[in-house]
């Protein structure tokens, strides 16, 4: 899966916006959104929020966790823990990336927020790399609890493919030409040839 596909999945995450326009409910297939009343917060999918923001039709209300103090705590927890800490959002990287690229004016201390999110990502990536070793050196399965889809996807294709190959190395090799047959087949074939020639 490429990152854009993961982003596609993450874009259905609901985000609170403050519209600058009025509109009745819009019946999308993925669910109704609205009604929109200027300056009243309302939840919409991330892809709608991004679109409205780009058209300057709303302000974004950043999710609670997108806050310097909270993120600092999260970062410390991630550093202190051997396991992966549960993230406040299944798609924290996607929300972070999209909102920080289009709505910096709506996010307090946006630059700091961006840095800490990146720090957390880096810490988790480093953890992931060191845990890969235990996978490669013998275990037949690996726990990936609390990893977000973008993080899981960062392991693809290398880790699963490497595990596939290790499995192959342990197995008996399948053969394309069945040898027990080939002797008899050799003679059989030529005799069928003979019969058609005669």
């Amino acid at each position: 899966m490429n990152p854009e596909e993961v982003e596609f999945l993450g874009e259905k995450q609901l985000i609170s916006i403050i519209p600058t326009f009025n509109s009745s409910t819009i019946h999308l297939v993925s669910g109704d959104i609205g009604p929109f009343r200027a300056s009243l917060p309302v939840n919409v999918p991330l892809w709608v929020a991004v679109n409205l923001k780009q058209q300057r039709k709303c302000k974004i209300q950043p999710p609670d966790w997108m806050d310097v103090e909270q993120l600092e705590l999260l970062k410390e927890a991630e550093k202190a823990s051997r396991n992966f800490v549960k993230m406040p959002s299944e798609h924290y990287m996607i929300e972070g990336k999209l909102l920080l690229s289009i709505a910096t004016d709506d996010i307090a201390r946006a630059d700091e927020v961006r840095t800490i999110i990146k720090d957390i990502w880096d810490i988790r990536m480093a953890k992931l790399r060191s845990s890969v070793n235990t996978l490669i050196t013998g275990k037949s399965y690996g726990n990936v609890d609390n990893l977000t889809i973008m993080e899981i996807n960062s392991m693809r294709p290398l880790i699963p493919h490497a595990m596939d190959q290790i499995h192959r190395m342990k197995m008996e090799r399948p053969r394309f030409s069945t040898p027990s047959q080939s002797t008899s087949l050799g003679l059989l074939n030529s005799s069928t040839v003979i019969s058609t020639f005669k």
Binding site: L98, S101, V132, L158, A162, I166, R173, S177, T183
Partner: protein, 201 residues
């Protein structure tokens, strides 16, 4: 396209056909009349019992693996003890590409010749000890060709796939929009055309 399979050989696999082209030490147990051509260094009509030849694996395999084998085969030297010791000591220091283009794939074929499973163990050991380096290497934006040249074909495929997806992730982390690209074959086609035109001058 969107599905990403890991390598598994099949009847039509180009890789597997190239792997089975590798030669392995063989010795004829019987006379084979009329097929002297198999031995390029002799001009006799027949192959005599006891003749030792390096046969391509695709031929050595069916002739050796049957109820009445025509030949006996042995491990290629890179899977024998001397080389196993080198790999055991430090597999990351070895230029695997030099050892054999298809070190792992051929190894998987010939490991049955070693009932003590030491070949299997050395394949696993080699792969595992070199893996971390491969993973780091896939993260480098600019690939060092010297490093790449030390990988065997199988490691190289794995590396290329990993490198491609790591670079996708890197560019996702840095940019906001993905560029839509012309289809791969269309790009190749254009490149080729350009080369053709260059040839004219």
């Amino acid at each position: 396209m969107s599905l990403c399979y890991s390598y598994t050989p099949n009847y039509f696999s180009i890789e597997d056909i190239l792997v089975t082209q590798e030669r392995i030490p063989s010795k004829f147990l019987v006379n084979v009349p009329k097929l002297g051509k198999l031995n390029p260094s002799a001009e006799e009509n027949d192959i005599k019992q006891g003749t030792a030849l390096d046969l391509p694996f695709w031929l050595a395999d069916p002739l050796s693996f049957a109820r009445h084998p025509l030949i006996s085969i042995e491990l290629p030297r890179v899977y024998k003890e001397a080389y196993r010791e080198i790999l055991k000591a430090d597999a990351t220091a070895v230029d695997l590409h030099k050892l054999g283009l298809y070190f792992y794939e051929l190894g998987l074929y010939v490991k049955r010749l070693d009932p003590r499973r030491e070949v299997e163990a050395i394949l696993l050991h080699t792969f595992r000890s070199r893996f971390k380096e491969l993973m780091d290497f896939a993260d480098d934006v600019v690939c060092d060709p010297v490093k790449q040249n030390r990988l065997d074909m199988f490691e190289r495929t794995l590396f290329q796939k990993a490198h491609f997806s790591r670079m996708q992730l890197k560019s996702w982390l840095n940019n906001s929009e993905m560029r839509l690209e012309a289809a791969t074959m269309v790009i190749n086609h254009k490149k080729r055309k350009r080369i053709d035109v260059d040839d004219l001058f």
